[in-house]
């Protein structure tokens, strides 16, 4: 597609909608009287609606989406169940197991599938060239990115809710048979229990934030494989370096700063005082990483050719 046919792929005023352009009559745009704030907001909302509908059709008709979400659920539940099945509380010996966290172990694996989803929502278009069409149809790039972010996060959290609920159920079914009984201080896992609810709902939020982190990274880097490597590298770097750090202070700081180490503290239900960072503060660290990635992705998307 030629640049002329695609319209202004790189508008000088990226915030201008197609409607603005029509109304203002192209070159005379600067002379046109400024639209009221509410009108601009309405226009933005309707553009976002259009973008959401367009992105939703793309996601729905892409064969990978369903399999990625189903895969995320399957590996999360299977890993959590395997971890629970491999752990026993022997009679007589002290067992120091955080049963909620153990049941939700699968998030370590499931987040990779969610990250693929987040990356592909953006990079998939770059690899096929579809992105030129998308941006020609919807020149307000941040609105496109916002629509993609909303949908990716929504899907990730929907899959995450199924996955985390399933993991918790698997844990609740398996663990009592392995010695984790109420008599030994391990009441059955239930969402009615405040910390367990926080761990489960927090894990769902965690997966949503991972999708955002991946999406922002992909918007910045464009290439799918490179984005995937960057996201997973960012997640895994901190726990490994922390495991080898000989200095306790450094180890703690690394665990506080890492998106995965800090973010997954939301899963802890016992011994909270020994965590490197509080559960919600930890999720906040991941949110900060995701926001930084989205900011970088958004800025680059605005300033670059497609």
């Amino acid at each position: 597609m030629s640049r002329a046919g695609a319209g202004r792929l790189r508008p000088r005023e990226p915030d201008m909608t197609g409607q603005d352009l029509l109304r203002a009559g192209g070159a005379a745009s600067r002379a046109a009287p400024p639209a009221g704030l509410s009108a601009r907001l309405r226009a933005g909302a309707s553009a976002l609606q259009d973008a959401l509908r367009a992105e939703w059709s793309k996601l729905l008709t892409s064969p990978g989406t369903f399999w990625l979400l189903a895969g995320a659920v399957a590996v999360t539940v299977a890993t959590g169940a395997a971890a629970a099945a491999a752990t026993r509380c022997q009679p007589g010996a002290p067992c120091q197991v955080d049963t909620a966290r153990l049941s939700l172990t699968g998030v370590y694996l499931g987040q990779a599938a969610i990250a693929i989803l987040g990356v592909l929502v953006v990079s998939g278009e770059y690899s096929t060239g579809m992105v030129s069409v998308t941006l020609a149809a919807m020149p307000r790039r941040l609105i496109v990115l916002t629509a993609k972010a909303i949908l990716a996060t929504g899907l990730a959290m929907a899959a995450g809710a199924v996955a985390c609920g399933g993991s918790l159920l698997a844990g609740a079914l398996i663990l009592p048979g392995h010695g984790f009984t109420a008599a030994r201080g391990f009441p059955s896992l239930s969402l009615a229990d405040g910390p367990v609810l926080r761990a489960t709902a927090g894990s769902v939020l965690y997966l949503g934030l991972i999708a955002l982190l991946a999406l922002g990274t992909a918007a910045a880097l464009r290439d799918a494989a490179a984005s995937m490597g960057t996201v997973l590298g960012l997640l895994y770097l901190f726990p490994i370096v922390a495991a080898f750090a000989s200095d306790r202070e450094w180890k703690r700081h690394l665990e506080q700063a890492g998106p995965m180490t800090a973010g997954l503290d939301i899963q802890a239900t016992r011994d909270l005082h020994s965590l490197p960072i509080g559960p919600w503060a930890g999720l906040g660290v991941l949110a900060a990483w995701a926001a930084a990635a989205l900011l970088a992705g958004g800025l680059l998307l605005r300033s670059r050719d497609a």
Binding site: A112, A225, L237, W250
Partner: protein, 535 residues
């Protein structure tokens, strides 16, 4: 085609070699001309260097100075660690009641009791070395007879001993350990021990009643001088109290002490009054209390000692000790980058449609795959080797400048660790290539390879999972390959926390073989699919 069919086997082989060489050249040109890949390889190695040097540079070792002096830091804290006959760092502190033994001879004794005290987990705040010890001999408390080449720290030796929980043992030159009779000596059931020197060999025997002797083991010690030191010894190693918590387990170590009673000491040619007590190796680097002594009444000797005669290993040595592979911790970061490049080396061809040209130009698909594997594997190996050599050489120096002791290992082990790390990266890249050829999609291939190679490693070493699950992961997943980096073996005769990230459940080469098997499986799967599928 008909012309080819009539070629001789040798001619076919030549043609095959020529076409493989062509494919290799084509793949090499592709590899080096994509700027992102070359840059990615360099970035991979730079990240590995940065992580490794950062890890080496934040050791922050501090140690108490002389009384009245400020706390010292840096190289002033480097402990003086004895080096054993095999070149390894050793712990050599014990109480020794000895006298010279010239020429061939033997020493015999009966151990009638072995008791002790050990660290019980309570913090001891400057109340002396024995404060906070609770009764009970630790499993590797040792009491017996010993023949030592000299009084020098780290000297060659052979010893027959009773232990707190592992029966009679014949140990020599720090790393060798042979089991004898089971059980712990008591006044009712004493354990008789004998060492016989004959030329360059020392043989250990044990017996229940002192009349029927069983040979336990023989040590050959070339260059053993005419006059050696022989006598009774007692020692008792660090005792670790492990506290399990919800985030894993943590250990706290403290000294222990053992006391043994000996009778019927017999050494032909020895002067009965010539027994001298030496508190060998007591000092800041010793894991012991530094307290020891002996009492003699008639033919009975009561000896108390603390420390260990054993290889020094991380976690049980009683001083902060690093290993050479601590500087190679960044390998996983490089592995992520080379996995991305390995996977893209083929998925990019599918994305661009170049694969059709490639396969039209060299229709033997197995050769294309082999050429790609050779190119990406060799390039990764060469760069990985350079980074590993720099890290081990420079990182070791930085650690020492920080006052952190780096456990010495032989040249052969160093070469294995350095080349093994490069090979780990290369095989990881080939694994990713195979996965990429099977999946064809970049994001999925990269995610699968990195989860397989690195997430398994994260879960294995970062104390996320319960220990048995983590160990299982490090046995069966590609992360087992990281075992090639382990430079200090786990010694059964030294109690220590032998867990990841320092120790792997599989031996170095077995772990590496597991990784190679995964890479081979990925390549075979890729070959089968590549042949069967349209491009």
């Amino acid at each position: 085609m008909t012309a080819q069919a009539t070629r001789s086997p040798a001619g076919q082989r030549r043609a095959g070699t020529a076409s493989l060489l062509r494919a290799l050249r084509a793949e090499w040109v592709k590899f080096r001309s994509v700027r992102g890949w070359a840059a990615g390889m360099v970035v991979a190695m730079l990240v590995m260097l940065a992580v490794g040097l950062f890890a080496a540079g934040n050791a922050n070792i501090a140690c108490p100075g002389a009384p009245g002096q400020p706390v010292r830091t840096g190289p002033a804290c480097l402990p003086r660690i004895p080096i054993g006959p095999g070149g390894e760092a050793v712990t050599d502190s014990f109480y020794f009641v000895h006298q010279p033994l010239t020429g061939n001879g033997s020493i015999t004794v009966a151990v009638t009791s072995l008791t002790g005290r050990h660290f019980g987990g309570a913090a001891q705040a400057g109340q002396g070395p024995l404060a906070g010890l609770v009764p009970g001999a630790v499993g590797w408390a040792k009491a017996g007879i010993l023949i030592s080449q000299s009084a020098k720290q780290g000297a060659a030796y052979a010893a027959m001993m009773a232990t707190g929980g592992h029966g009679a043992r014949f140990q020599y030159d720090y790393v060798n350990d042979v089991p004898g009779r089971p059980g712990r000596p008591s006044p009712a059931a004493p354990l008789w021990l004998r060492l016989v020197r004959s030329g360059d060999t020392i043989t250990g025997y044990d017996s229940a009643g002192g009349s029927h002797w069983a040979r336990v083991g023989t040590a050959t010690m070339p260059g053993l001088p005419q006059t050696v030191q022989a006598g009774l010894f007692v020692t008792s190693p660090l005792s670790t109290v492990t506290t399990a918590s919800f985030g894993g387990s943590s250990g706290q170590s403290g000294p222990s002490q053992a006391t043994a009673v000996f009778s019927h000491l017999a050494m032909p040619g020895a002067s009965p009054g010539g027994w001298v007590g030496t508190n060998a190796g007591a000092g800041p680097a010793s894991p012991g209390t530094g307290v020891g002594g002996f009492r003699r009444s008639g033919g009975t000797f009561t000896v108390t000692g603390s420390g260990d005669i054993a290889p020094a290993v991380p976690g049980a040595a009683g001083f902060p000790a690093a290993t050479i592979e601590d500087h190679l911790v960044g390998a996983f970061a490089a592995l992520i980058a080379v996995a991305v490049i390995g996977a893209m080396f083929i998925t990019a061809e599918y994305r661009r449609g170049l694969i059709r040209t490639t396969l039209a130009a060299s229709p033997r698909r197995g050769q294309v795959l082999a050429a790609k594997a050779i190119v990406v594997g060799s390039a990764t190996f060469v760069l990985g080797l350079a980074a590993s050599v720099i890290l081990v050489v420079v990182g070791t120096r930085i650690s020492r400048d920080q006052g952190e002791y780096v456990l010495p290992v032989s040249w052969l082990t160093q070469a294995r660790v350095v080349a093994g790390t490069a090979a780990l990266l290369a095989v990881g890249a080939v694994f990713a290539l195979g996965v990429g050829a099977m999946l064809r999609r970049g994001a999925a291939a990269v995610a699968t390879s990195i989860v397989g190679l690195v997430l398994t490693y994260v879960l294995g070493v970062a104390a996320v999972l319960p220990a048995p699950a983590a160990e299982w992961l490090l046995r069966v997943t590609p992360a087992a390959g990281f075992a090639i980096q382990q430079s200090i073996p786990a010694y059964p005769q030294v109690a220590g926390g032998y867990g990841p990230p320092v120790y792997f459940p599989l031996s170095p080469w077995a772990g590496f073989a597991v990784l190679c098997a995964w890479a081979a499986a990925a390549l075979v799967g890729a070959y089968v699919l590549l042949r069967r599928r349209d491009a």
